[in-house]
């Protein structure tokens, strides 16, 4: 009996506990039941928010890029250079019937390079890739001019028509030779160069597999027959690139002074120190902060392509090797399209809010702008730097005026 009573008492308490769901948000019925305070927005335009800026190129080098470029554009000519790893495995152990035997390479039936398409201008048809034989140990520091002599008819190995239906991610095979002769001095190393032709200037890129060699990198396949008496046995060997890059003309140089260069390859980043009034650095009251940048000329890149520009705060200023704040939510970004020009609006409110927090308060008022994904897009843009006249960067800040809660 007593136990029953306790359970009843406990049940009463449980009913209360289970009922603790809250829904107290009522619709506003003004003026009677509206809050006394109002959220009031205000704008302010900072015409000279940047005290100093600079651009540096070389964050992602050409050989580290995620793509390998060939181009015949007037503004950029490029060819791809690939040195494949040495073919080490020339012996294998096939099982014939119930016996395992030792086989040696008798002769090579064919040598094929498989590439994965990265980007192409689909408006250009009848595009062809030209595969050239390069010296096995070509100069990895070669320039477009120094490597050009090797792109001649005498070294041409294959011409591959690129189907108009070929899209990014598709695989294309480049047939190099049937029975390839590799001089002993080359120690089973093959290097190739890839160029392109098209009825009109265009560009074509393939995936490099960088930064770590992946299955999307160009792979070289040897299809071989074994020596007699196992000459009916076939085998394929594959080797990955040992070194791959592309060379360009003109080669991008260091960004000029007074220009904020972002993107391209080697990739460039721009950093800018901001001088902000107190109202612009607040942890809660800023709702929008737009950096207004003016292009010097249309954004470059693959035809009809686009890329992001991302702004991140710098937590330690070590010049070009400054440390960025890793939280992706504390950033701003904007999409740029190839050919885009004029004013670009980049929202950086999360960065200003970060500077208003206890963590961000001690960090420099320094932001870094870079292309994204960096090293995987060709796109590049030049903005007017600070102190270059009417087109200099400006910052528009929208904030909430102090909210009056009132008392009681």
């Amino acid at each position: 009996m007593a136990r029953t009573s306790v359970w009843r008492s406990a049940a009463a308490a449980a009913v209360l506990a289970l009922g603790c769901t809250e829904n107290i948000a009522a619709p506003a019925s003004c003026p009677g039941l509206c809050p006394s305070g109002n959220v009031v927005l205000a704008d302010t335009l900072l015409t000279a928010p940047i005290t100093s800026d600079t651009s540096v190129r070389g964050y992602v080098l050409v050989r580290e890029a995620g793509y390998l470029l060939t181009s015949t554009m007037d503004s950029l000519k490029a060819v791809t250079l690939i040195q494949f790893s040495r073919l080490l495995d020339t012996v294998w152990y096939p099982t014939i019937g119930t016996q395992t035997d030792t086989a040696y390479i008798g002769h090579t039936d064919s040598v094929v390079v498989f590439i994965h398409v990265d980007q192409r201008d689909t408006s250009v048809h009848n595009l062809k890739l030209l595969v050239y034989r390069l010296p096995a140990n070509f100069d990895t520091g070669a320039t477009y001019a120094s490597i050009a002599p090797y792109f001649t008819d005498s070294t041409l190995m294959d011409t591959v028509a690129v189907p108009d239906t070929l899209q990014a991610g598709d695989t294309l095979s480049l047939h190099i030779a049937n029975n390839l002769t590799i001089p002993p001095a080359d120690t089973n190393v093959i290097s190739i160069g890839i160029a392109m032709t098209a009825p009109s200037p265009s560009a074509f890129s393939m995936q490099s597999g960088a930064p770590l060699t992946s299955t999307t990198a160009p792979f070289l396949y040897y299809y071989v027959h074994a020596k007699a008496p196992l000459d009916t046995v076939t085998k394929e060997f594959s080797v990955e690139p040992f070194f791959s890059t592309f060379v360009m003309s003109p080669a991008p140089g260091p960004p000029p002074s007074g220009v904020l260069t972002i993107g391209g390859i080697p990739t460039a980043r721009a950093t800018m120190y901001l001088s902000l009034p107190e109202v612009a650095v607040d942890s809660t009251h800023i709702v929008r902060a737009t950096l207004l940048l003016n292009t010097l000329h249309p954004a470059s890149g693959f035809a009809s392509d686009s890329f992001y520009i991302i702004a991140q705060p710098v937590v330690r200023d070590y010049g070009p090797k400054s440390v960025l704040y890793p939280d992706s939510s504390v950033s701003g970004d904007v999409v740029l399209h190839e050919g885009q020009s004029g004013q670009v609006s980049l929202d950086i409110a999360p960065i200003l809010r970060f500077w208003g927090t206890t963590v961000g308060d001690s960090t420099p008022r320094l932001i870094m702008l870079r292309a994204y994904p960096e090293g995987s897009v060709l796109g590049s843009v030049d903005f007017q730097g600070a102190g270059t006249g009417p087109g200099s960067p400006q910052l528009k800040v929208t904030y909430v005026k102090p909210y009056h809660f009132g008392a009681p």
Partner: protein, 379 residues
């Protein structure tokens, strides 16, 4: 013994519940000092609050604790569902805790904590406009959590046919107001939020008496005198004069198994009006309250009596509601039903009350249904 321990366990669990002790919410809590609570126990709430002036668990009359003859603790929970315009609102609160003990053959002391002013409210607004350079659709959520708790230290002395009591009230608490604006039409705008905490403190004293001039007739009266309540926010401080509250009531048992109760109250909240107006509020008015109830002791389940309670309460709420044509006066009325039963071998009592009513201020109308459960333990 095990039964008593179990009942104490239940009481302790209820008392330790992490939610703040707040009474039923109201959309009208946004105005003035908040929504004024009654300090009425679930047992008395079943009677509409008609016997609140004589009820030892309620905080209306300090002399009423003289009815306790042994150490007793009590706690109450309240689940409320409300409708306002198209919105259905729910909330659960724990508005009352108390403990009393015998300090002598005739002296009883008690400490209670009850809701006094409830400042739990939340308002959602959607708007559109061009406040800066682009057209925006915004949604605002303004929310207040907290309120003012009345902590009372009371003592009562029993005389023959008469009990006198006095209480010292400490008003304490805080309300955290948060505003959140989201820009639903433009992701370039980050949400804005801000918050402010207003703390409250004040003191009051109450005096009361309970007399039984006739065997089946009990009278009670109390008066509560308050000083100023200080409301302190980060950017402003307001001192609000608090009212003198007077309550009187009676209970009569005309026949066996039937009790009739009534309590009338008045408070001169108009003395708070000037301070409220200066703070941007619409002001306050004097407020009356009337509560009547009837209790029936005819139902039994086995050997256990199940008292049934019926009641009606009407009261004026002191804080005015601003309106385009001036200010609206708010009033509340409700019908009530309740019952109770003993448990744990008579060591615990559970009281349940249900209220159905409405709060009306001009065209604004909030309907509510509230379930209150009280647990009284005598270890």
């Amino acid at each position: 013994m095990r039964t008593v321990a179990g009942a104490l366990l239940v009481a302790a669990a209820a008392a330790a519940w992490p939610a703040p002790a707040r009474a039923q919410d109201s959309v009208f809590g946004i105005r003035g000092l908040g929504f004024l609570d009654t300090g009425v126990s679930p047992r008395s709430a079943g009677l509409g609050g008609g016997d609140a002036i004589l009820d030892g668990e309620s905080t209306v009359n300090p002399a009423a604790i003289a009815s306790w003859t042994e150490t007793t603790g009590w706690a109450a929970g309240s689940a409320s569902s409300r409708s306002f315009e198209d919105a259905s609102l729910r909330s659960t609160r724990f508005p009352l805790f108390g403990l009393t003990a015998q300090a002598g053959p005739r002296l009883v002391v008690a400490v209670t904590a009850s809701d006094y002013l409830d400042r739990n409210w939340s308002v959602a607004q959607t708007d559109s406009g061009t406040p800066v350079d682009s057209t925006l659709v915004v949604s605002d959520l303004t929310r207040s959590l907290g309120g003012v708790t009345d902590v009372r230290f009371a003592a009562a002395y029993r005389l023959t046919g008469l009990a006198l009591g006095a209480g010292l009230h400490v008003l304490t608490g805080s309300a955290e107001t948060t505003v959140l604006r989201q820009f639903t039409s433009d992701s370039a705008f980050l949400p804005f939020s801000d918050q402010s905490i207003t703390s409250y403190r004040g003191v009051a004293a109450s005096f009361g008496a309970v007399a039984s001039p006739l065997p089946q007739f009990v009278l009670g009266a109390s008066v509560r005198v308050s000083g100023r309540m200080r409301a302190e926010a980060p950017d402003t401080t307001t001192n609000v004069p608090m009212p003198v509250e007077v309550h009187a009531g009676a209970s009569v048992q005309p026949m066996a198994g039937l009790g009739l109760d009534a309590t009338v109250g008045w408070a001169n909240w108009s003395r708070s009006s000037a301070a409220l107006v200066a703070a941007g509020q619409a002001g306050a008015r004097d407020a009356w309250s009337v509560a009547v109830g009837a209790g029936l002791s005819v139902l039994r389940l086995g050997r256990r009596a199940i008292p049934l309670r019926f009641g009606y309460e009407w009261r004026q709420l002191p804080f005015l509601i601003p309106d385009t044509s001036g200010a609206l006066a708010l009033s509340e009325h409700a019908v009530t039903f309740g019952f109770g039963f003993t448990a744990a071998g008579g060591r615990a009592t559970v009281d349940v009350a249900e209220q159905w009513g409405a709060r009306v201020a001009g065209p604004l109308r909030e309907t509510f249904a509230t379930t209150q459960v009280g647990l009284t333990v005598r270890p």
